[in-house]
């Protein structure tokens, strides 16, 4: 297999937009192509991620539409949907296409727009990512899924609501320095702890927001990447799945797909958690960050809450997590999130992250989780 590099990244501002999700992706892709300093005609395939376009925008067949908006013709296009992990899944497939020698340059990313529809509609559409027979009719929501996980983690390890609140405070503090972030405002522990319950024990400020946005990445073969000074290598990209059903999870306090995807990515890269300098992980809810820092091997099971409380995951701490502000502060346009995390890690490894730069970062990791913890992707990146 050939080595693969990221040669360009692009991201829209995250927040509310008037343009549709394909337009948002096209804007990000335009910036990624410009950043890569290539001609659009160099792109040989397009991998596009979107989740709710069918329900929220009455639009399917979105990958050739994305190519059309970009002015790209005659290239194969594919649309991916794996809940919130959508564009990270697309990324892994794009990496495989370049690694296999099928294409030398591939464009991958995603777009999502949900802020134009009422919150209960968006909650329903996101709920379509859980099972339609056993889960949706019960009224389980995504905050509900992670509330079940949070309760199990609290029971097993004594994790507290205050420890979870520390995750939100830290990610908002990071997000202040991200000009693309949806919420660039510090919050206090009291703000989180006094916010209303959405799904006990999770409160409003434990939850990431609904977000519109787009993100894109240009991948290239080693031969092409060698001509670019700011290339960042893909050291590994692994996917794992777990049962969709909450009733089949053997231990609700763990996300085993994260553990297995991490193992795969570390093995491909010949690295371990101790080698990672900077992390963008899937903090859709504060408990999700705590469980992920354990599953990725940064802390022992049960230590994730303590790590958050002690500041070990802050920029300047033992292992900086979500310098972008994470899903919590930067925002979570679900079809674009995986690619957006990759944009941040590439920016960090290039040393171009400005006031939120993790000094001397050489190896970065992205982790994206989809649905009822049934899809997890982990990728590792490194600079020369």
């Amino acid at each position: 297999m050939r080595r693969v590099a990221v040669i360009g990244v692009g991201l829209t501002r995250f927040g509310k937009h008037e343009r549709n999700s394909v337009e948002l992706f096209a804007e990000a892709a335009r910036d990624a192509i410009t950043d890569a300093e290539i001609s659009p005609s160099a792109i040989q395939a397009l991998y596009y991620g979107n989740v709710t376009g069918g329900e929220g925008e009455r639009q399917l067949h979105t990958s050739p539409l994305a190519a059309s908006l970009l002015g790209l013709t005659n290239i194969p296009t594919t649309r991916f949907e794996n809940a919130c992990a959508t564009s990270h899944v697309a990324f892994r497939h794009a990496v495989m296409e370049v690694a296999a020698g099928i294409s030398d340059v591939v464009l991958v990313g995603g777009g999502e727009r949900v802020l134009h529809i009422p919150t209960d509609h968006a909650t329903e559409y996101f709920g379509f990512c859980s099972d339609a027979s056993y889960e949706q009719p019960v009224g389980l929501t995504f905050p509900g899924v992670f509330a079940l996980i949070a309760r199990a983690h609290m029971e097993k390890y004594g994790t507290t609501e205050e420890q979870m609140a520390h995750v939100a405070v830290k990610n908002h503090r990071h997000g202040v320095h991200n000009p693309k972030a949806q919420f660039r405002k510090e919050i206090t522990l009291e703000t989180v702890l006094r916010s209303a319950y959405v799904a006990d024990p999770l409160k409003l400020f434990d939850c990431c927001p609904f977000t519109d946005g787009g993100a894109a990445v240009v991948l290239a073969s080693e031969e092409v990447a060698r001509r670019h000074k700011r290339s960042i290598w893909v050291l590994g990209s692994a996917a794992a799945s777990d049962t969709m059903f909450m009733h089949e999870k053997r231990d609700l306090s763990r996300i085993t797909a994260t553990e297995r995807a991490a193992l795969g990515a570390y093995r491909q890269a010949g690295k371990g958690p101790q080698d990672v300098d900077v992390v963008e992980l899937h903090d859709c809810f504060t408990i999700a960050e705590i469980v992920a820092t354990e599953g990725l091997g940064f802390f022992e099971p049960g230590m994730g809450g303590i790590a958050a409380e002690k500041g070990w995951t802050s920029v300047g701490g033992k292992i900086p997590v979500n310098p972008s502000g994470g899903l919590k502060s930067k925002g979570h346009p679900i079809g674009a999130t995986g690619a957006a995390q990759i944009c941040e890690i590439v920016t960090q490894l290039r040393g171009e992250a400005g006031p939120r730069q993790v000094e001397g970062a050489r190896v970065g990791l992205t982790h994206t989780l989809g649905g009822n913890t049934a899809t997890v992707l982990v990728s590792l990146f490194g600079r020369d």
Binding site: T141, L148, A199, F245
Partner: protein, 126 residues
């Protein structure tokens, strides 16, 4: 194949009548909630239906206060993962119990919640 297959439809038809049905692997004894083609433990295809008593304890729960469209009038409501006495778990709506009385480990018993054509798994006091 003459085996009796439990489909989603038949699981919920049975549930509507108050009966929970699991499937047990004839090769290794693995118990599962249908439908499932291959046994995840031994990869064989030798399922047989097995009645479940519907008795269990709450292994985790949440109180949904922001509901999706279609459930808006029902909030706040409790959802729990219940570990049944036979060893498998099932997700359900908790009913007929004060929300503040819910705890992990609390015994509960299955009851069908019938909403028009739809049957939803519910759990009430044991």
């Amino acid at each position: 194949m003459t085996e009796r297959v439990i489909t989603l439809k038949s699981f919920f038809e049975e549930a509507r009548a108050g009966r929970l049905t699991g499937i047990r692997c004839g090769k290794c004894g693995e118990l599962a909630i249908p439908p499932k083609e291959f046994c995840p433990a031994c990869q064989q295809r030798a399922w047989g239906p097995v009645p479940l008593k519907g008795e269990g304890t709450i292994s985790s729960f949440t109180i949904i206060r922001v509901a999706p469209r279609g459930h808006a009038g029902e909030a706040p409501y409790a959802v729990a993962v219940v570990k049944l006495a036979e060893g498998v778990s099932l997700l359900g709506r908790v009913v007929d119990m004060p929300l503040e009385a819910l705890t992990v480990g609390l015994p509960v018993k299955f009851r069908p919640l019938v909403k028009g054509e739809q049957t939803v798994v519910g759990f009430g006091p044991a």
